[in-house]
Each structure stands twice: as structure tokens, then as C-alpha cells.
């Protein structure tokens, strides 16, 4: 029985949508934990802990200095309070910043050497760390549906698949701790160049204490031969996860990258503060998809993950293109704004988001599109659904700088409320500083592509039907583009429509 059972839904809201949200609010299926021997750094945060994390990762001096500088800066910062989320004061001294399975004390030489318990964990999550079958229960996929996985368990990467095959194409895909040792020139050049350690409270904290994460480099003119993904699992209690992902797409390259996250069901809230930096050079393209399914806490708001994430793409090159797609169903508190700096001329940024908040969940999420280059384009489609006593906020910025001539933005954000105890909020910032650019922000469904609408209407649909078809078709298209790994979770979302939106 969920809180949604006795909710009277207003007219116009699609019953299938309500059922889909109800389905998601059932028992959290990834809430089990793995019994495994762990070693922890001492509880709390201090310079010594920062040094310890650096030492555990066997890092060079420059990396430690970088971390320490961030840590000292963080001490002077204040936690931001502008987001529409409320949570008890976080005691940063009352948690662990480093937790690693004992069997990972020495990095396994190959996937065969990885602790079977860890392999079992990922298998249970539907992400077998094998370079063969993709997903249990799914028909054998065609060759081109291979997905390489980097599996991050608490503070460490436990293994990365298909590394050799990727290396043949010149693609580097490894944990960031390995990259710091093996590719210091790339890491030094790009780490912190998109999200400087001084960026914001949580990014600064992350710069000080990040323990692992994924690193990707796609060389010039290379189309990554398979999809890449990272699966984040928090398992240890009272432990924060701080991972850092850095993806560099060199000139003319392409990569599709996927990210998934789950955590056990626990009574005490846990912190997750990640940074994701994407660098795109001329003509590069990155498609970054996330299915965020951290434990959301119970129906009374007990437990759950506090998800404070900074994600940013820097379209440094001309004609580069980045696409963020996110499906947010988990976390007790979400604070996340995947952004695009459209620096190169003719670069493009896209943000597609579906955020579903139920029970006591709070999500404050959106994007920033900063147009600096000429002829840059951005598109934002955000759909927020609130149920139970949840609060769901879209917060976004579209900024057209004076030099971003002939640029375009189109934003559409819709919200749907299921029940009378939840909230849906929209906080867009629009800054236009030249007159050859055009910015449109709509929270109604009247501004979909005119050609598509005309096509539908010429087939005899009325306007409302046509708009619904185009919008929903678009939404489903995004969801179906999600990789197989996430298909099962996403399937439930495909039924969601935004009919009956409040604005």
C-alpha cells in the first residue's frame, strides 16, 4: 500500500501515468546490501583524511596539492541554501569519506580476480561485469550493442570491462585513479578545467575528497565503438560517495555514456557529492544519459541519499554538441544542474529531463545553458512529476552573452502534480544580452514544432491531440534511446504523459 492509493486524481491526468508513478513508489528493489568486509578511513573530515585518500590512490604530489587547496578553500565556504529543499544540517564529521572492500586492497589484475561477492552484487543489479552477455533476461544483443562498464563500489572502482577492445580504437576508459597514474598529462590538462575546485560548496568538497570515478578519452576522429557506462553503488553505511568523472572528446569524436546509481535501504541519510566534467573539442559529440535511482528514503522521509551533484559540459570546440538526458527517480534530496557552456561557435547543448518525486522526496534540478559563441543553440525539455508530499523544482538559466550572435534557445518545462499535498515549482532565469538571438520559454504545450503539429493536424487530429502526440512521442523517443541496461527501469516511465500539467 502506498500513499498514492487513496489520492483523488484530478480530471485530465492520464491514469496510466498515475499507475506508472505508483509502480515506482513501491518497494525500492535495489535496497539490499552486500555483506562484505570493508576497510574505512577514520570517520570525519580533515587534512589527514584528504592525505589518506590521496595515499590510498597512490597519487602523485600535484594531485595531493590540488586536493589540499580545495579542502582549505572548502573550510571557508558556506553551504548554499537557495535551493527549494530542506534537510537537517549535515554533520560532515559524522561520516566516512573512504570505504573500500578489503579484497580491493590490491587492485585485481583482471575481472576474473575480482572478489566474487562484488561480481555477484553487480550481477544482481543487472550489470554483469563480463565482456559477453549484456543483461540477464534480454535476448542476445547485436554486436554493436556492447556496453563497457566501469563499476564503482563505495569509494573505489572495482573493474572496467572491454578496456582492451576500446584501447584498439585508441579510446581510454578507466577509473580516474588509474588515469591520474597512467595519463597524468591528460588529467592535469583537463581536470578542474570545466568545474574549477572553487566552483561551489559541493564541487569544492568533491575536489578535496573524491576517491574514484571514471575517465574517458576519445581520440580525434574516433567514434567510440561501444557505449560506455559507469554504475555507481553505495553499499557501506554512514559513508559518503564522492566520485569524479572526466570525459574528453577530442576533435570529431563521438561517445555515448551512461550512468546508473543505486544504494541500499537504510535509515540514515547518506551523502553523494559528485562532479562530472565533459570537454568537447571541435566537432565532438557527447551523449550523456543518467538513470538516477538512489535510495529515496521511506514514505516518512527516513533515510535516503542526499544527491548534490555538479555536472557541466564545456563545448570548447566549434560545432560541438552535447546532450544530457536524465531520468531522476531516486534520492531523498536532489540538487543537480547538468549544464552546457556553449563556447565554440555553432555548438549545441540539449537537456532532457524527467524528474519524478514521491513521498517525502525533494528534487531541485535543471540546467544552465550559457551561450558564449556565435550561432549556438540550446534546447531544454524538462518534465517534473510530484506525488505524495514531494517537492519538485525546475531551476534553470539561459544566458545569451553579447557575443553569442544569432543564437537560439527553446525551453519547455511542464509539471504534473498527483495529489494535493505535493508541490511543483519553476524557477527559470533568462538573460538576453544581444538582439540577434531568440529565447523562448514556455510552460504550456502550445509551442511544439510547428511542422510536426501541422503534419498531425493535416491528418485530422485536433490541436490538443497533436500537441500531446508530439510531446509524448518526443519524451518516449528520449527514453527509448536509453541503453539496454536501463531499459527495464525506463520502461515503466514510458507510460508517463504530462497531460493535465499544472504549468
Amino acid at each position: 500500500m502506498t500513499a498514492l492509493d487513496d489520492v483523488v486524481v484530478k480530471d485530465g491526468v492520464d491514469q496510466e501515468t498515475v499507475d506508472a508513478v505508483k509502480g515506482l513508489s513501491g518497494t525500492y528493489k535495489h535496497g539490499w546490501n552486500t555483506e562484505i568486509e570493508m576497510e574505512y578511513a577514520p570517520k570525519g573530515l580533515s587534512e589527514d583524511i584528504v592525505r589518506l585518500i590521496s595515499e590510498k590512490n597512490d597519487e602523485p604530489e600535484w594531485m595531493l596539492d590540488w586536493r589540499l587547496e580545495a579542502y582549505r578553500r572548502w573550510l571557508k565556504l558556506e553551504e548554499p541554501t537557495w535551493a527549494m529543499v530542506e534537510y537537517p544540517q549535515i554533520d560532515f564529521q559524522d561520516q566516512y569519506y573512504y570505504a573500500r572492500p578489503k579484497s580491493m586492497a590490491e587492485k585485481p589484475k583482471s575481472l576474473d580476480d575480482v572478489d566474487p561477492k562484488l561480481l555477484e552484487t553487480y550481477k544482481k543489479l543487472g550489470i554483469p561485469l563480463k565482456e559477453q552477455a549484456l543483461l540477464a533476461g534480454v535476448e542476445p544483443a547485436p554486436e554493436d550493442r556492447k556496453v563497457a562498464v566501469d563499476a564503482v563500489f563505495d569509494s573505489v572502482s572495482v573493474g572496467t570491462t572491454f578496456q582492451k577492445e576500446l584501447a584498439k580504437a585508441g579510446v581510454i576508459f578507466c577509473s580516474i585513479s588509474e588515469a591520474i597514474k597512467d595519463h597524468p598529462e591528460l588529467v592535469k590538462k583537463y581536470l578542474g578545467s570545466v568545474i574549477p575546485p572553487s566552483d561551489n560548496y559541493y564541487a569544492t568538497l568533491n575536489a578535496a575528497v573524491f576517491s574514484d570515478g571514471s575517465f574517458v578519452y576519445i581520440p580525434k576522429g574516433t567514434r567510440c565503438p561501444m557505449e560506455l557506462s559507469t554504475y555507481f553503488r553505495i553499499n557501506a553505511e554512514n559513508t559518503g560517495q564522492f566520485e569524479r568523472t572526466l570525459i574528453i572528446a577530442d576533435e570529431g569524436s563521438y561517445v555515448s555514456y551512461l550512468e546508473g546509481c543505486t544504494a541500499p535501504q537504510r535509515d540514515v541519510a547518506q551523502l553523494h557529492a559528485a562532479c562530472v566534467e565533459l570537454v568537447l573539442l571541435d566537432d565532438a559529440e557527447i551523449k550523456y544519459s543518467t538513470v538516477q535511482n538512489w535510495y529515496p528514503g521511506d514514505e516518512n522521509g527516513k533515510g535516503g541519499i542526499y544527491n548534490f551533484v555538479t555536472k557541466r559540459a564545456d563545448c570548447r570546440g566549434h560545432r560541438s554538441k552535447v546532450m544530457w538526458t536524465q531520468v531522476e527517480t531516486g534520492s531523498a534530496v536532489t540538487w543537480k544542474y547538468p549544464s552546457c557552456i556553449l563556447r565554440g561557435d555553432d555548438s549545441q547543448g540539449e537537456f532532457y529531463s524527467i524528474a519524478i518525486a514521491n513521498n517525502m522526496q525533494q528534487a531541485d534540478t535543471g540546467t544552465k545553458m550559457v551561450h558564449l559563441g556565435k550561432n549556438t543553440k540550446s534546447r531544454i525539455v524538462s518534465k517534473g512529476i510530484s506525488a505524495g508530499k514531494a517537492q519538485n523544482t525546475y531551476r534553470g538559466l539561459v544566458s545569451m552573452h553579447p557575443k553569442a550572435k544569432n543564437s537560439r534557445n527553446y525551453t519547455q518545462c511542464d509539471s504534473l502534480l498527483i495529489g494535493s499535498k505535493c508541490g511543483a515549482h519553476t524557477v527559470p532565469y533568462i538573460e538576453v544580452k544581444n538582439n540577434s538571438s531568440r529565447v523562448e520559454h514556455e510552460a504550456t504545450t502550445s509551442k511544439v514544432d510547428d511542422d510536426q503539429l501541422f503534419y498531425c493536424r493535416s491528418r485530422g487530429m485536433d490541436e490538443e491531440e497533436a500537441v500531446a502526440l508530439v510531446v509524448n512521442g518526443f519524451c518516449k523517443e528520449v527514453l527509448q534511446a536509453l541503453p539496454m541496461e536501463f531499459a527495464m527501469e525506463a520502461q515503466a516511465l514510458v507510460a508517463i504523459s504530462l497531460e493535465g500539467s499544472v504549468g
Binding site: 502534480l417 495529489g419 533568462i430 538576453v432 544581444n434 538582439n435 529565447v439 523562448e440 499544472v502
Partner: protein, 416 residues
Amino acid sequence: MPAERKTAVTDERLAALTLPAGDGWLRAGREDALGRLRAVGLPGRRDEYWRYTNPAKLVQADPEPSQPDAGEDPFAGVDADVITIDGDGITMPGTIEGLDVTTLSDAGGADIHWAKDLYGTLEAAGSRPVSRPLAMLNTAFATDGLVIRVTGKVARPLHIRTTGGTDPILHHVVKVEAGGALTILESGNVGARYNTALEVDVADGAAFHHLRVQGPDGGMHANTHIFARLGSEATFRSFTLSANGQLTRNEATIDLTGDDASATIGGAAFGDGDVHHDDTVFVTHDAVNCESRQVFKKVLRNGATGVFQGKILVKEGAQKTDGYQISQALLLDDDAQFLAKPELEIYADDVACSHGSTTGAIDETALFYLRSRGVPKRVATDMLVLSFLAEAVEEIENEDLRAHVGDLLTDWQARA
């Protein structure tokens, strides 16, 4: 602005002001506002609601020297009862049926007065959740104002024309009793700097219409506030036509507290040159089946900046709300800019709230169409500008006044 700096700015401004004499209810209202102001301090650039408008010139101890243009009366020819407020005082009209008007200073001298329950009350309510320190300053230090009670349907508009003064702070209180109706016209380039507040209580079934003209021209720095509270089936409509002025910040805070109430707030602004024009609107739906509209259009060029910060807050239980908000800017050249924050905050599920915001240059296709019909570029641009602003002017309900504002716009446009 760090806290110490904020306190210093506030102290400096307050040192230049003295609470007007008196010891009655008005004094108590002033002291209450002063206490609230001291608690929050005057606004600074880092305050969320001032991120797009620098309040420095509004909060500094002395106003920037500038010569406001007395200008022509924009409502000349409109059949109305006129009240003039200038450096010499307030000139009242004769008796008007359904209307009881006095000055704030006279009302404040009376031991018992109905305005006691309103003065500063709506302002204080409107300072939650977003504090409005310049309105608090107004309540505390208002030099004078009008206290108006509407007991019936007033036939002719009441025109408040304010001129003169260097740094006036005016505070008007209007109470429209059940079934009453009043239209207020507001005009005049008040001074180098001015701060006005208008508190309006619209009782059940009552109607209040407000039409204001700011400009054209004048070097003033203006900060105006409207605080309205609407009862059941009450109507509130306010429209402001603005042109230029150094800095204009028009704030409106509207609370729909009775079922089936309706509020519309709109504005058309023309900014040419180094001017800054800001509309900040906060509409709260706290009753069932209410409707609200925010319609703002700005045409900007030659370095002009337009700002729109609009919010619709739908409280829990305010079902069947119909909220609408649109802000649009036409940038006539590359030096103009438009900064907007159109917000929704919704806690009720059976509502429809939509908001839209667009910014861009003149539609090239429309321009081409007109030019292909032999209309010179300049004339074609003017036509498109007028038709763009006309959509906002449509929000004025009274046909004659709507036509009058349309004529004013055309006239201003021709002179620009």
C-alpha cells in the same frame, strides 16, 4: 553585500531621515515598519530579488541630482476628478459621491481612524516571504499620501497627479468596501528620486482599477510598490505605461484571499538610452477558483535594460486556480538587454498555471512584408513596435482609457 556593509548603508540612509512627528496610530505603524526595516536592512546587489537591478541609487542617502521633466499631463482630456500633490501640499477635489478622501497626515492626527488597520498591514504581509525593505522604509517615513475609502461605485476616475519634490516618499491607502468600485489614474514625474507605496484592500465583490503613466523622459530614480488584497469575487486591475526614466522599479504584491477573485497586472514599457526598467510582481493564490494574469511587454534600445521578475504562488488548497504570466521583450539593437525570472510555485494539483517569456529582435518576416508593401523601414519598425506593445495595452478593461493609452503610445513613438 556583506552584512556589515548592508548595515552601514542602512544606517547611513536612516541617518538622513527623521520619523515625522505624531504619537497616534500612524506613529505606531511607522515605528513597526522601521523595526522591520532595521531587521532586514536595505537591499543590496546580492539579494536574490535585486540580482538584475542595482539598488544603489535607491538606497544611497541622497538622491542623484537630476532634473525631472514636469512634462505634459498624460491624462489631459480624460474626464476625471483630480488630486494634485506637489511641493506645496495636496489639493483635494470637492465632494465625490461614494468616496471619502483625506490626506495621510490628517488621518494620522485622528485618534481613531479606519486606516489604522490597513496602514503598513498589507505592506508587512507583502514582505513575506520576500522582504521589501524599500517599502518598509516608505511606511516608516512617508512624507504624506492619500487615505481613500470607497463606499459605492464611483462614477469618474480619480486622477492623482504628483509633481515636484526632490526625494518624496508617498504612501496611499485605499479601502474599497464591499460592492464599491473605483478607478485611479496616476501620473506625474514626481522627483529626482521617489518612493511610493499603494496599499489597496478590495473587499468582497468590489473592484479597483489602476492606470499609471510614468514618463516620458525625466531623469528620475523611482521605486513604486503596490500591495493589494482581494476578497471574494473582488477585481483588481493595474496597468502601467512607462517610458525611460533613469531607473524604475515597479513592484506589485497581490494576494487573492477570497474565492472567485480576479487580478490582472500589466505593463508596456519603452526604454531608449541608458535606462533601466524593472517589473517585479508576486501574485499569491490563497483561495479557490481565482484567476490572475501578468502581462508585460518591453521595447528596448540604445543601452536600455528591461527586467521582469514575476511569480505565481499557489498555496495548498487554492484549487481551480487559473494563473497566467507572459513577459516579452523586443530588442531593437544589440545594446539592449532583457533579464527575466518568471517563476511558478505550486502546492495544489487541480490548477492551470502557464508562463511564457520570449526575447528577440523584430520579426524579419513581418518587417519584410511591410517593406514589400512600400512601407519605409522606420515606419514599418514603428508599426511593429506599436502592435507588439498593443497586446499588453489590451489588458486595460475600460475602452476609452485603453484608446487613450494607445494614443499616448503612438504620440510618444512619433516623438522618439
